[in-house]
Subunit: 337 residues, 3 copies
């Protein structure tokens, strides 16, 4: 198992199965604090530097909240504000200075490998919140946490599952990173549903093969959605030469109540990294599934807080002190209900 | 009286007189904390999500400070940063995710009714910080609080007052919302001074009539400013077809020391929602009144913190625990003096 | 000595030698908290309004962190967001309102003297974080702190030092303010190395002369770098008529390992206000000096936090209560090592 205390979290490739299990276990312990049955102030006085050189409200707020839920202070930088970077300052210099102002750093940046480069100069642990097309490890971890949590309702584990990944599997770093994590588990049947032009890259498929999983590649939903989990991603219009070309794919892989009832199992769990396009013409993941309890997309988003709390706790070595710093919640909350 | 605990604050129309009295009463209890005679940490560990999809330094900082004055953490989003919204995400989805990251939300958004739409998806209380031309309920409440506080100096109440509203009464949501709240009180004489083209909308005047108030509509200041309160608003240049047209109105309704001494009572209290245009050519509310103690505009702005503290406390059900969470102020402050 | 409690910090001209010594002394007491041997929550519940009307990641984060390291809340405004200012609101009005929302204000603004104008309207202490080409007093103080701290390693004081200031000495407010502070000390030999066109302004040189210091003005590095401290600043391309003209100077005053070994003393301490241009063509301060322990540039940046903590503590009158509010650090940190 990797040593978490004092370590950077840059890539899903850092993890073996035991390390992932450890993260998910600590994340589970965060539920009472996130749902406000208790609060925890183990990080009182600690400072998170939340550096979002590329905007992302959802991920930024989730990181910041996670740290505050452990009692810590958050200090944020949003956007390519930093005139320093345009004056030729290296990421090493930026890191050496900025990391001195914090106990831990969460960072998103549009350039591939930029977060690792920053980590080289940092004097404190750095957590990758997304570095361009490269990695978004906390998203992969929250996806895995969600699969495990949802399957627990049916007394299943990640091993032996049937999982469908559907949509643009070529460009989505989300499904690539999740696939890498799934490679750590046993005997999964993965069905990859996408247009031929948007298939999962070979190296990801190979990794799944090598892990001993069964992989089915198809461009048709028919007969292929009888799974435990159906993970839907966007057909990303901006990836195509023209809107017309994108529209050809639209609707071929959209999910709504009728498709679900016709093609899925009774309890197929639906996941989506969000945001989803809710406009009627989007044909992506229809709002008519909102009252289906197997739609896990909002629980999935909430799990992001748990996983990020866990990573903060592990990197700062407080994961076994949580109960010692529990406090009563003094205000009204309906979250735990 | 409305139930505050767990409730959204979206519109002044939610309130009956008893509810308003309750808010103002709780706001009054906040004075020792805002003036730093004591501090209060009843919301220690709680998280406010301060969502300003439209910039507004004054209102944003006031909400954030109010929450910090009760001991809570603030997490902010400023500007239409959220790429999610441009990718077609519904306000319902945004709310369902973001509200999961907070104990309470304050929100400003340029679109009418957007805050109510957001509240539909939220799992925590939402306070409207302004939704376009629609509502700005906390401004109306702080205005009312200011009227009551200023009149208390003269042993008067809101009932039976003489109040002048002056300026652009057609477009200002501020004076509309305040008028709605005044409709809950008794026997007020409201004098509405504006250019004919910028008169108060009929439905607002009708509501005042129906409440049994006396309403005088005029386009002249002469003889009409002998009031307890004179509430001045901007002639908003951007509302007119041309700058020339706007300039026609400029100065006709401007207030300065000479106008005040000639037309007002000895103790007419001057209010203004701020910001005021202080440039010499503005002819709006002159700086030569700055040393007149009846100029209440800065006290009015400070009252915004008290009212927002009160709403946070009520929505989170801690309004009766404040004294239990009082602490000493450890640093030097001249605020209470 | 100046009275710090409740006072604004606007200019280095406010300080006599005793006041500077007091600030540096309090800054030194902050080391255990900044290096996480202990934490301090003497300002728990206090609110800093961090107003950066001009972006500056480094300075903004440093101010915010400094306040959080003393246990206080930070509320930030970044960029010329404030629509109020464009609607003609005076800095006096802005200050009167915004200062009411805080216990202390740190402010950067692009216009000269704007921070002093703001301070006129403020009801709480204001610390100047840079007002255009005018002043940046906290930078000068952290530079002085760094000189003292680095010289202490060699049992030297600021009096009697040999200091080289090199680069664009005409435009850099940093070296101007530092020179003003050095005028408070005794018997310094200052060597000012710059292109003839970018020499130190006469009034700064006169002040150094009047303080009894020895000043050498030169445009050559040769034979002039045998100093205790070498303070390097950027040749600022944007100051020149053309890039070609700027390039003429480039490299004439650049520092790298070979220059250092050839021209400096064994233990000449290298300072730089940062950011530095790390691109190979920059020829400014080469990264090949990064492993030279006399390169003090990153310690210098960290000292900014200590100095800002000291100013907050002094302005809020808590500088003698720090040890009373010490707490254990609950998380893993390698900072103190």
């Amino acid at each position: 198992m990797m040593k978490f205390q004092g370590s950077h979290i840059l890539s899903v490739s850092q993890f073996d199965r035991e390390s992932v299990a450890r993260i998910l276990d600590v994340a589970k312990r965060m539920i009472p604090y996130a749902s406000r049955q208790k609060r925890c102030n183990v990080l009182e006085g600690a400072i998170l530097n939340n550096l979002f050189f590329e905007p992302s409200t959802r991920t930024r707020v989730s990181f910041g909240t996670a740290f505050q839920l452990l009692g810590g202070f958050v200090h944020e930088t949003v956007g390519q504000e930093s005139s320093s970077l345009t004056k030729g300052e290296s990421l090493f210099d930026t890191a050496r200075v900025i990391s001195g102002y914090a106990d831990i750093v969460a960072m998103r940046h549009p350039a591939m490998h930029s977060v690792a480069e920053f980590a080289e100069g940092s004097t404190v642990p750095v957590i990758n919140g997304g570095d361009g097309a490269n990695e978004h490890p906390t998203q992969a971890l929250l996806d895995l946490f969600t699969i495990e949590a949802e399957m627990n309702r049916f007394n299943k584990n990640i091993d032996d599952l049937n999982i469908v990944l559907m949509g643009d599997l070529k460009h989505g770093r989300t499904v690539h990173s999740l696939s890498k994590l799934l490679s750590l588990y046993n005997n999964i049947h993965l069905t990859l549903v996408s247009p031929k032009e948007l298939q999962m890259p070979d190296h990801v498929v190979s990794a799944l093969d090598n892990a001993g999983h069964k992989v089915t590649i198809t461009d048709s939903m028919v007969g292929n959605l009888q799974s435990d989990v159906l993970y839907q991603t966007r057909i990303q219009e901006e990836r195509f030469a023209s809107k017309g070309e994108a529209d050809m794919y639209r609707g071929h892989f959209s999910l709504n109540k009728s498709v679900y009832e016709q093609h899925c199992k009774d309890n197929t769990v639906i996941m989506h990294p969000l945001p989803r396009d809710s406009r009627p013409e989007a044909n992506e993941l229809d709002v008519d599934l909102n009252d289906n309890n197997n739609l896990a997309i909002f629980r999935q988003a909430q799990n992001g807080v748990l996983v990020r709390m866990a990573l903060f706790a592990l990197a700062l070595g407080v994961e076994d002190k949580l109960s010692q710093y529990e406090r009563e919640v003094t205000w009204f909350s309906s979250k735990g209900n």
